[in-house]
């Protein structure tokens, strides 16, 4: 990957993380851990997807469904970075009368599907991909699932269907941060081995380091080259990535930082942004 592009992506991802913290802090509730673990992949995705903030309903656009909808702050922060709505909106996340609902809502500019009840987003993404195939349209559909989310049976109904109909215009990313609300996924009710399961369901599976843009580029290029079957990208991620005290802590799944924690998180992220800017 070109060094400048990588740096650009790193800076954007850092700003996305700041937006996540800003949103969750102001909401006094929400899910920072799983939002931070997908900040890089979402930043990368929205750098390659065919979308237009000035024309969010463009029929030929690529589609994205955040199946792990509780990490909406990450999606909103990326959409705000792209210009779908003002960044100021992040500060009223989850407030009464606000644009930004606690979970993604189709009426928000740039949001292609309401989601958040786990296991459902992937089916909608499958339907969008089927629609693209049915009408020979060229858009691609992406969805991100949690590794805890895939404990839902509906995910495997969708996986079976997508492979049966050869939906190679569909890429599902599994955010494998290893933690869910009640603890480690391997302790709660293990969905492992995740790779083997998707392979057994007829998917092409790629594993990737979720916080390495060169590796993400490799994974998505490989995904693009696959024909005749859907692709699952299992991204090994760190829950809470980018905020030292949130990293790999199950307690930060669904808790908002207090003022002191907010200031510490923002100061860490600002320092990182400054460091990246100095490199340019």
């Amino acid at each position: 990957m070109d060094e400048l592009i990588r740096l650009q992506l790193q800076k954007t991802a850092c700003r996305v993380r700041m937006g996540i913290i800003e949103g969750v802090y102001n909401a006094k509730s929400g899910h920072p851990g799983g939002s931070l673990s997908i900040a890089d992949v979402l930043t990368y995705l929205y750098s390659i997807m065919n979308v237009d903030p000035k024309n969010p309903d463009m029929p030929e656009r690529d589609r994205f469904v955040l199946s792990k909808g509780h990490t909406a702050p990450a999606l909103y922060s990326v959409l705000a970075e792209k210009g779908f709505f003002p960044k100021e909106e992040l500060k009223s996340l989850r407030h009464i009368g606000a644009l930004l609902q606690g979970h993604p809502c189709i009426h928000i500019p740039g949001v292609d599907m309401s989601s958040g009840s786990l296991g459902q987003g992937i089916s909608a993404a499958v339907g969008m991909a089927l629609s693209g195939k049915h009408r020979a349209q060229n858009y691609h559909v992406y969805t991100i699932l949690g590794d805890g989310e895939i404990e839902e049976g509906q995910v495997w109904e969708a996986a079976m269907f997508a492979a049966h109909y050869g939906l190679d215009n569909l890429t599902a990313i599994v955010d494998n941060n290893g933690l869910q609300i009640d603890g480690k996924i391997t302790d709660v009710c293990s969905p492992e081995p995740i790779t083997d399961k998707f392979e057994a369901f007829g998917w092409h599976v790629i594993t990737v380091n979720a916080h390495d843009f060169d590796d993400l580029e490799r994974a998505f290029r490989e995904a693009e080259s696959i024909t005749g079957q859907p692709v699952a990208i299992i991204q090994k991620s760190v829950k809470g990535k980018g905020v030292s005290f949130m990293e790999n802590q199950v307690g930060w799944h669904g808790t908002a930082p207090n003022q002191e924690q907010y200031e510490q998180a923002m100061s860490e992220l600002s320092a990182e942004l400054k460091r990246l800017e100095a490199l340019a």
Binding site: M113, S114, G127, Q154
Partner: protein
């Protein structure tokens, strides 16, 4: 009555989809391994490229329908009422209802007239479930003609529609040139002044027969066909309440949450009159021939007439 034409509304569903396929090119059909029973098999035979079998996976089918609708298609997601409204309820609520997507649900084998398969497959709760979803339209046609009209009306409605069809062949009662189907508009099939029988689905035919019996006993019963349970034609119901002072509702559904509840809610708020509900009385069904079951559960003209007589006597 031997020359009366009978047809199951599930058959009408399959035929209507097929007949309308050319006119509506965005129409696609989903099924969950029940195409032979829901009669979407008729469509599949004519338009194999527009019929997607989802296998026995109703939750995903509803989500796929949502995705198709979100990209401009008009999907009919088909299964038995038990699985479409029951098993997949939360997907219908969150992936179809909340984003208000243009999905049509074709739910066949509603009510106890499923017959021999018994209680696990006899869905008497679907109307109650679907009524709680904001923006969901619920159509429950009475016969072949109405079912076909309902399918086309659902296609032309912008938003989610739950269409309820039956397994049992029922008499065609709407074969008159003035017949007109409009979502949200009930149809007064017979005028009367002593009582109003409000019926839906296959009970409409029974209600008409009951009104005939009541006439012989000097009771003048109005009969209203409510094919659209939501949005309810409250204007027509309230007019009937005012003019006849007493209502009996008839449905092949639980007396909890269905047509009876909807009518009672409507009149109790604006024109309180006694409402007697005929339906499945908070009990599960069981195996048996459909017609015998309908009789046993009181979902027949004799019982409607008897209950209506009592209701009028109590006025």
């Amino acid at each position: 009555m031997s020359d009366v034409i009978k047809k199951a509304t599930r058959e009408s569903y399959g035929e209507a989809l097929t007949a309308l396929a050319e006119k509506y090119e965005n129409l696609v059909v989903l099924d969950a391994d029940l195409a032979a029973a829901t009669k979407t098999g008729i469509f599949k035979k004519a338009y194999p490229d527009r019929h997607y079998d989802c296998g026995i996976a109703e939750a995903n089918m509803m989500g796929v329908a949502a995705g198709l609708a979100a990209t401009g298609m008009i999907p009919f997601a088909s299964s038995f009422a038990m699985f479409a409204a029951g098993r997949a309820f939360e997907i219908v609520r969150n992936s179809i209802g909340y984003p208000h997507l243009n999905v049509k649900i074709g739910a066949t084998h509603a009510g106890i007239s499923v017959g021999e398969d018994g209680a696990t497959h006899q869905c008497c709760e679907d109307i109650a479930l679907m009524r709680t979803i904001p923006g969901m339209v619920i159509l429950n046609p009475a016969d072949d003609i109405e079912a076909k009209a309902a399918v086309e009306a659902a296609i032309n409605w912008d938003g989610p529609v739950y269409c309820r069809f039956g397994r049992l062949a029922v008499p065609v009662i709407n074969n008159n040139p003035d017949y007109k189907f409009e979502i949200g508009k009930g149809i007064t099939l017979r005028d009367g002044k002593d009582v109003t029988i409000v019926a839906t689905g296959l009970m409409v035919c029974e209600a008409l027969e009951a009104a005939e019996m009541l006439a012989k006993d000097g009771i003048s019963a109005r009969v209203i066909n409510i094919h659209t349970i939501k949005p309810l034609d409250s204007e027509l119901i309230l007019k009937a309440a005012k003019e006849t002072g007493c209502i009996v509702t008839c449905e092949e559904h639980s007396i909890i949450g269905g047509l009876g509840s909807a009518v009672a809610e409507c009149v109790s708020e604006s024109c309180p009159v006694p409402v007697t509900r005929i339906g499945v009385n908070d009990t599960f069904g069981h195996s048996g021939p459909a017609v015998a079951l309908l009789k046993e559960f009181g979902l027949c003209a004799d019982n409607i007439a008897a209950v209506t007589k009592q209701a009028v006597a109590k006025k």
